[in-house]
Symmetry: C2
Subunit: 208 residues, 2 copies
């Protein structure tokens, strides 16, 4: 049965789920959520996910939210992208780190800088987030020094989680040139057969 | 063998690991990290965890970081606090949600408001974080309406993750009285046999 992923192109968290589905070879299709018009806050959507967020994955009777949960479900179901059995805590470690320290702040900084009118942007909060993000980029860049992948010797959901917001072109304070090991790792990911840019996997909520 | 947890009292993330160890009945002891004097940024500590963060768990040859990873390890090792097999994705969902939407921001807001000198506090960033936290408290409060525990019918690591920062007395914009279902749930957690306040499980880095 075809799985359905409720998503929209601008969501890096949805991209983590979409790219995992795509690279694991799962039969899936995106269901567009018109986020910026309030679709995720509608009663119908809140029945799907009271947290009011994408992504939401539907697989028959199974309904899952939170990108890291969807990633784990795909790993469990396909046996792909999870690394070896010995790697499982290390993979989870980086998925959690990304959720705690990187995507959570990168997603917000990118939203504030690109999808809010200029006069509504909280400049001090943006600068604060960017300062914390710089520390996160440094941790990731150092970790990738001498490594091809975040965990073990193959692409895992840890890579897919951490890379998600870094593939978007809208400026939010991340420049690949500043972080050579991240830059080389992003190139490796985008050269993986089947890789697609978020806007090629999911419909954009704002005009292309 | 006694497990060792590198931690300090003020860290809600360390508390998630410490309370999980304690309530799972594990033989463990805290190892104090003098965080505010820079101990987590020392070379010795960075050998333990290049992310420069507590908690770090040592169990013989096993070294784990990220509170959610330590929680999962204790669940796997003891068979406790993880809910039923059917609950595993729902437990992970709330641990990830907490890391993404609640603890990450509550920890920062509490740090800025209590452990930075008043003249150094970024007031706009604090207000921004508090606004986002209010949305998170509302999600949790609504979820707990009619439920005793976050997942299923018993305490799990999802509860321990989400409650962590909410047990501290230092003000950061969370008031139990504003959120009756969270308030009742925190009372249930603190009435659980073996429950301890963070400052009774781990040494404080600042004077008591």
């Amino acid at each position: 049965m075809t799985m359905q992923l409720y998503c929209f192109g601008e969501s890096g968290n949805a991209y983590k789920a979409a790219l995992t589905l795509e690279l694991a070879g799962v039969d899936w299709q995106p269901v567009f959520v018109d986020f910026f018009k309030g679709a995720a806050r509608s009663d119908a959507f809140k029945t799907l996910n009271p947290m009011g967020e994408v992504p939401v994955l539907i697989d028959g009777d199974v309904k899952l939210t939170q990108s890291g949960v969807i990633q784990q479900y795909i790993v469990d179901k396909t046996g792909r992208l999870g690394g070896t059995e010995d790697d499982k805590y290390e993979v989870l470690r980086w998925v959690l780190w990304d959720n705690h320290k990187m995507s959570s702040q990168a997603g917000v900084a990118r939203f504030l800088l690109n999808f809010l009118p200029q006069e509504k942007r909280p400049q001090e909060a943006i600068a604060f987030l960017q300062g914390r993000l710089k520390a996160a980029y440094a941790v990731l860049n150092d970790h990738l020094d001498g490594r091809d992948w975040i965990v073990g010797d193959a692409l895992t959901v840890a890579d897919i989680s951490c890379c998600s917001y870094l593939f978007y072109d809208e400026p939010f304070g991340f420049d690949r040139k500043d972080w050579p090991h991240i830059d080389a790792w992003l190139a490796r990911i985008s050269e993986t057969p089947g890789w697609k840019h978020p806007y090629d996997l999911m419909q954009r909520a704002l005009g292309a």
